[in-house]
């Protein structure tokens, strides 16, 4: 296979979703696929790859290198190397923005705050503590308790005329708090907006969000309102990465591409 027909694969096996990005030999995105991770990490990653290859109309033999990232990075049989999602989100976001940024990645079961300098080198990083309060899992739990389909959470939060504050650290306690609020007659849309605010409160406890802030991850992808709420809290603009759910997979694909550079 000639080098100019080579493809480079990045696969991010996250707690909730598996994302895969194929890059062509010039480093341009050839295809993207996302699927729920489910219980079989290896099988889901393989299905993502098949679909991505179909979309790119390319045979598997064209893949020159694959980097896996995310919780299931060591379960991807077709990967050549693993890298952490912290590293890959950094590479992906720097590729998209090309300047010093603070990345806030809100995923299904963890959050990361990653600071990059102007050369894209990581200054520091913080992950959320063990509890998933303040992550996508929290939003899912609250949606379930309120009986609201996940896909309607963003619109409901936007329609809210007030925000109902949820102050508990713990997801279980927050759900109890919601019971109290419902009993007091609080509006559902206000509680939903409060749930997004609670997620951001947990993020803001992790590290100071200095400089230019970029949001990535599945929560921002499905609920763009969270960027607006964060901008309100910070009193300044917040960028959302293009295709925010894919920045980890993009970073992994870019790492695969660079590893194969002559």
């Amino acid at each position: 296979m000639s080098a100019d027909r080579a493809l480079f694969c990045g696969v991010d096996v996250g707690a909730s979703a598996t994302k895969l990005v194929l890059l062509d030999a010039s480093g341009n995105v050839a295809s993207r696929v996302v699927l729920p991770t489910g219980v079989d990490f290896a099988a889901t990653a393989a299905v993502c790859l098949d679909r991505a290859l179909d979309e790119a109309q390319a045979p598997r033999a064209r893949i020159a290198n694959t980097v896996a990232t995310g919780y299931g990075r060591r379960n991807v049989a077709f990967a050549d190397a693993p890298l952490t999602e912290i590293h890959c989100h950094g590479i992906g976001c720097y590729h998209l923005f090309g300047r010093a940024i603070t990345i806030v990645d809100i995923g299904g079961q963890d959050n990361k705050v990653i600071r990059l300098d102007k050369q894209g080198l990581r200054i520091d990083f913080t992950m959320n503590r063990k509890c998933a309060a303040g992550t996508g899992a929290f939003i899912e739990e609250i949606a379930h308790r309120l009986g609201v389909p996940l896909g309607e959470m963003d619109a409901l939060a936007r329609s809210a005329s007030q925000t109902v504050r949820l102050s508990s650290f713990c997801t279980v306690f927050a759900k109890t708090e919601i019971l109290t609020q419902l009993r007091l007659g609080a509006p559902v849309d206000g509680i939903v907006r409060g749930a997004f605010l609670a997620v951001l409160d947990r993020v803001l406890e992790m590290a100071p969000l200095v400089g230019e802030v970029v949001l990535s991850g599945g929560v921002a992808a499905h609920n763009p309102v969270i960027a607006e709420i964060l901008a309100e809290k910070l009193g300044r603009e917040v960028e959302v990465a293009p295709h925010p759910q894919f920045t980890g997979a993009l970073g992994a694909a870019l790492a695969a591409w660079r590893q194969s550079a002559p």
Partner: protein, 417 residues
């Protein structure tokens, strides 16, 4: 894709250490069963020398706590202590040890064929490490109905002043009547001098062991240290500990002379701050080795180096030794200490273990980790976990954070090429 191969190297002296530890526990067991000697339970950081001077055999519940953690028995036993009102939020050494007592299940049985921990004739604590030890020993005071005495050390000490030392010396001397009564022996200052001198020699040998890790590449890791510190914890003041460290030092010097590293191809040198995650010791050692990373220094293993025991007055020596140690000191002192350690051991990054149930051994709760990284220009990571309670530890989170730190170091190095 396959996992990288394990690169842990065994230290030959481990067999000798096991013999020393076995003799120690069997002697305690015999004394408790036959009454051949009085048994005292003591906190790990003093005042063991004073007790040995009276002929007591000294047993350390904290050492038992570590065994409960490393054998992973703690997870089964902690709930028993929780159920009688000892919170899951307090020291998991305490809860696993109390759980062990309640469930009549001890790792000493499997390790040494001993039915149970040696029953105490006396309980002596020092609050220099934490307040939990006092409540821990009070539980056993109620259970065994034996005397409980202790030393109350000031905490967060900036400078160990003459006044503080005088107060502690007075507390040590106040123990003497109880020690005389329970042991049935008169206090003998010359015997105390001998024991303190032996303890000092032991602690200096242990210091030499740890200092070997300043060598590049290091001949031992923090994980080795947590195993080999056993005699320095339970037998300092007893010459068997000294003999053991002479054997270990000879092997480490042999490694240095032969260019043998603890971790093949040592590429990253880390400082481990805080307690080990006892139940994950092997996994952590493997993880580090697989990434060519060596944990060369730690606060924990260095906590059994007691330079002040050289003081000509053994009471002053003990008072200073058990108050000048890291855990008793102020944030200002600790920050300075870290700086020295990072420099002496040429550390590339710091791993802060935030042990949920051990706030006094978790030094990332008042911003120190951020201040140190900013000032020293070296990265750090905070791993949430616990010394014994694995319910508070996430394997995947810890692994990801560690690997991300290694990637950060590699990225920095690549950018400098």
């Amino acid at each position: 894709m396959t996992e990288e191969k394990t690169l842990i190297k065994k230290i030959r002296a481990t067999a000798a250490m096991r013999e020393v530890m076995a003799a120690y526990f069997l002697e305690l067991d015999d004394a408790a069963r036959t009454g051949s000697a009085k048994v005292v339970w003591c906190t790990s950081v003093g005042p063991a020398e004073l007790l040995r001077a009276f002929g007591f055999l000294v047993y350390f519940p904290e050492n038992h706590g570590a065994m409960l953690g490393s054998s992973r028995m703690a997870a089964e036993l902690i709930p028993a202590a929780n159920a009688i009102g000892y919170s899951p939020d307090i020291c998991s050494y305490l809860t696993s040890d109390v759980g062990s007592y309640l469930m009549k299940n001890t790792p000493l049985t499997k390790a040494y064929g001993i039915a149970g921990v040696p029953k105490p004739d006396l309980l002596v604590y020092n609050t220099n490490q934490c307040r939990d030890v006092q409540d821990w020993f009070a539980f056993y005071q109620r259970e065994f109905d034996v005397p409980l005495v202790g030393i109350h050390t000031p905490r967060a000490v900036d400078e160990v002043t003459g006044e503080i030392v005088a107060g502690l010396v007075a507390q040590e001397k106040a123990l003497l009547p109880t020690l005389e009564q329970v042991s049935g022996r008169r206090f003998d200052i010359d015997r105390l001098r001998e024991v303190v001198a032996s303890s000092y020699r032991c602690t200096m040998l242990w210091k030499k062991v740890l200092n070997a890790a300043t060598h590049h590449p290091s001949p031992l890791t923090f994980f080795d240290g947590t195993i080999h510190m056993g005699p320095a914890v339970v037998l300092r003041g007893d010459e068997r500990a000294e003999r053991y460290y002479e054997v270990l030092i000879a092997e480490l010097e042999e490694r240095i002379a032969g260019g043998v590293s603890a971790v093949d191809g040592e590429a990253h040198r880390f400082y481990w701050e805080g307690m080990p995650v006892w139940g994950k010791l092997r996994e952590h050692a493997e993880l580090f080795a697989a990434h060519r990373a060596c944990a060369v220094a730690s606060t924990y293993c260095n906590s059994w180096i007691f330079d002040p025991l050289a003081d000509e007055d053994p009471f002053v020596g003990m008072a200073r030794a058990y108050t000048e140690l890291f855990i008793v000191r102020s944030e200002k002192y600790k920050e300075h200490y870290f700086e020295e350690m990072v420099r002496n051991y040429a550390v590339d990054g710091i791993i802060f273990h935030n042990a949920k149930t051990c706030p006094n051994n978790s030094n990332c709760r008042y911003g120190m980790h951020r201040r140190l990284s900013a000032r020293l220009g070296i990265p750090h990571v905070v791993i949430d976990g616990d010394l014994n309670d694995l319910r508070l530890y996430s394997e995947e989170q810890a692994r990801t954070q560690f690997e991300a730190l290694v990637e950060q170091l590699q990225e920095r190095r690549s950018s400098q090429i």
